[in-house]
């Protein structure tokens, strides 16, 4: 199981994933340095990614789009802010339009990837910090297929457990 640890911080909208790979940091770095490898791992098979521009250096840009099963394109871009070859990559991830212009109205996220050599290969730490809940929602809309009634069923279960179904608030439900 390559993922060894995950952390959520709801206050700062941060997700951290720690994974162990049986390959050297240089080899793992290659995945990010080679656009053809990057597109193989970036999107799920149902949303394949295509990397267009690829400049992995401070001030450089990586532009990509993901194609939905319906053929809809979701474009994104990275603005690379710091590169320490083989060990550290920092970038801002933004939503973009078809011309790869940043969509200013959509919040982005800040990403820090680090790769440390271990006895068995590499420990990779992926940290994403979202600017807002809206950005987080949109990222999920882009690449994750989900069962749409799950959330309602959870609420049902919650209300059933607390024994307050249909009496969940003391005010009469407002119907006008």
């Amino acid at each position: 199981m390559p993922v060894t640890d995950t952390f959520h911080d709801e206050e700062t909208l941060t997700l951290t994933i720690v994974a162990e790979f049986a390959a050297s940091p240089q080899r793992v770095w290659d995945i990010y340095a080679d656009p053809r490898q990057l597109e193989q791992i970036w999107g799920p098979p149902t949303y394949p990614a295509t990397v267009v521009d690829h400049s992995l250096e401070p001030g450089g840009r990586v532009t990509y789009f993901m194609t939905s099963p319906e053929g809809e394109r979701f474009c994104g871009l990275w603005e690379v802010t710091a590169v320490d070859r083989f060990t550290r990559l920092e970038f801002r991830d933004y939503f973009a339009d078809e011309d790869f212009t940043i969509v200013e109205s959509m919040p982005g996220s800040s990403c820090v990837y680090t790769f440390e050599a271990t006895e068995t290969g590499t420990r990779a730490t992926y940290e994403s910090v979202f600017d807002s809940v809206e950005g987080l929602r949109t990222v999920i809309e882009m690449g994750v297929v989900e069962g749409s009634t799950g959330a309602i069923n959870q609420i049902d279960g919650l209300l059933a457990r607390s024994g307050t179904a249909n009496r969940a608030n003391s005010q009469p439900s407002e119907l006008s």
Binding site: T6, I152, L175
Partner: protein, 115 residues
Amino acid sequence: MKGLLDDEADALFQALADRTRRDIVRRVAGEGLSVSDLAADYDMSFAAVQKHVAVLERVGLVTKRRVGRRQIAHAEVGPLRTITSLLTELEDHWVERVQRIDDLLAEDEPAGSRD
């Protein structure tokens, strides 16, 4: 931001505190249904069902689209997902991505060591 989320949560819970409304959201989560189709299945007036749909619309849980002369209600479950559930979903997404990285790295092994 937290205050805003709390207000949003209050409005959502208030809208979902009613069994009929929870049922409506579940039923329109897939294909979408017209208000008349929905009303046919409840033991209440068309107007009452229409009001329930309007409450759900106000909090963004249901959107209505016009198809010819009919109004079709669709569920928008996005607002129901809390930050925790969003982060959890994203985590699942990452677990898959890490698996793809692992698979790609495994392809490096010399031919013959795997089949």
